[in-house]
Symmetry: C2
Subunit: 284 residues, 2 copies
């Protein structure tokens, strides 16, 4: 039993970057642990929405009574890999009041004048929330490494700083779920062409995407290095094959369900006399 319906092994195990992890060995077309079809996957996603919503409400409810637990989902990926789709299709099941979403763009001049974690720290999720980072502090060891905007020594310093930062998050009640959505270069090409072929998607296209595409192998090396250096016990990496959007979505949903189920969430117990309050309401 995997504990995940439809999966013969739980994605939190199969997709977790273990010892000796090699990104080059992950097939972006694969669907590890899942034997069903696309239709099965889509049905599963919808089916588990209510359970995900209930767990999130419990997390939120606990925080109203002093609970400190929270989740931070960090999404990293090459352009077009489907981060937006994850947010739109997986997170949308949750109550928007309990989701704290932040997309990190190129830093502003003010942000650049501080340490790279300054702008990140301000966006960490509050107690009871499910935080979602669309890109994150990992950009500072990915694009910065690829384009040599920082020296190798500085990149090394950042890996250490990231591990310390994430350990602090974990120590203060945050379950950190780190996800790389992994697509192939060919799949990205198809998706860029699809954007260009649909006028309603032109706004999502920029020449910059194509420029970065030329550095594909450098990015893969940077991801491999980042995963090697920051794959800690408290904040492990998961690499989700994402050529099949439907699989990436059920996989991330499972990672969230796994994280929430691991938090031992309970509905807060009434601190009032239920029978008395009932009587007062009836008489009101």
């Amino acid at each position: 039993m995997s504990g995940a319906p439809g999966f013969d092994q739980h994605p939190s195990e199969t997709l977790r970057a273990g010892k000796g992890f090699s990104l080059a060995d992950v097939d972006p077309d694969s669907t590890p642990g899942f034997k069903g079809t696309k239709e099965d996957g889509q049905a599963l996603l919808a089916e588990l929405d209510d359970g995900l919503a209930e767990l999130q409400e419990k997390l939120f409810a606990e925080s109203r009574f002093g609970g400190r637990k929270r989740i931070l989902l960090i999404l990293q990926a090459m352009d077009t890999a489907g981060k937006g789709g994850i947010v739109n299709h997986v997170m949308a099941a949750m109550d928007p009041q309990g989701v704290q979403f932040k997309a990190f763009k190129a830093p502003t001049d003010e942000e650049k004048s501080y340490d790279f974690l300054w702008r990140i720290e301000k966006e960490v999720p509050a107690a009871g929330m499910v935080g979602v980072f669309d890109r994150s502090h990992y950009e500072d060891v990915l694009i910065h490494r690829v384009h040599r905007w920082a020296s190798p020594e500085e990149i090394k310093r950042r890996y250490v700083a990231i591990n310390e930062f994430e350990a602090r998050l974990s120590g203060s009640g945050t379950t950190v779920v780190k996800v790389m959505l992994h697509i192939s270069g060919d799949e990205q090409k198809e998706r860029l062409l699809a954007r260009l072929d649909n006028p309603a998607k032109h706004w999502k296209y920029s020449r910059g995407d194509l420029d970065e595409r030329a550095f594909w192998e450098d990015y893969m090396s940077a991801y491999q290095a980042a995963i090697d250096e920051t794959n800690t016990a408290n904040a492990p990496w998961h690499v989700v094959p994402a050529n099949k959007k439907w699989f990436a979505r059920i996989a991330v949903q499972q990672l969230l369900l796994g994280a929430l189920n691991g938090m031992d969430l309970q509905w807060p117990r009434a601190e009032f006399d239920v029978a008395l309050e009932r009587e007062l309401v009836v008489r009101s």
Copy 2:
């Protein structure tokens, strides 16, 4: 034709507080302009989700290319009236990346040390966003009036300040949609009892709800006064009968659809040569 399927008059007309509006004359059980059943209403809500999502994406897309338009939905209501359900069931259709949600609780000491609009101003939606206020600056002319936390002169000053504030929002590209969800006292009693009868809902109950309930008529007077004083052309009030949750949801969905449809949103036109980019991607 109302322009709203299922409705013989558009909710933006039937629910709008017009001249001589009287809250006492609004039946919280009614479903103005809608002839269908609950099932029809629920089907309609689901059916229009995609259209709502597309309009919201257009609004967001425009802002990436300099568009200044945005929406601010202000939700006010007595406890248990269903603000949370609106957020969860109507807003959830939209991409969480384009929704800026803020619940205003009792002000902190810092917030209290400023003018009442200080904390509000900080949360107004960015360009391209759909902002949602769960409670708002109207608390400062509602609960403050009911409990006489402010003098009648101060409350009058606030009405004027609110009108000026909302005129500024409107002048800078914000379509302001103000909604009072209107339930009856009996309906609130049922909903409070339902919370007490479900241990998973105990966290939502507090004695304070019951305390405020005792001031029901004063609240209705305060709402009537607030609507009278702040029902401007650019930021009109809508009073949504909310004893039937399904109706309140389709009504607010229609108000949002009406607002978005009134904004003349267009997909941004490509500022690049599509054929050339296509060729470059193919060759990449």
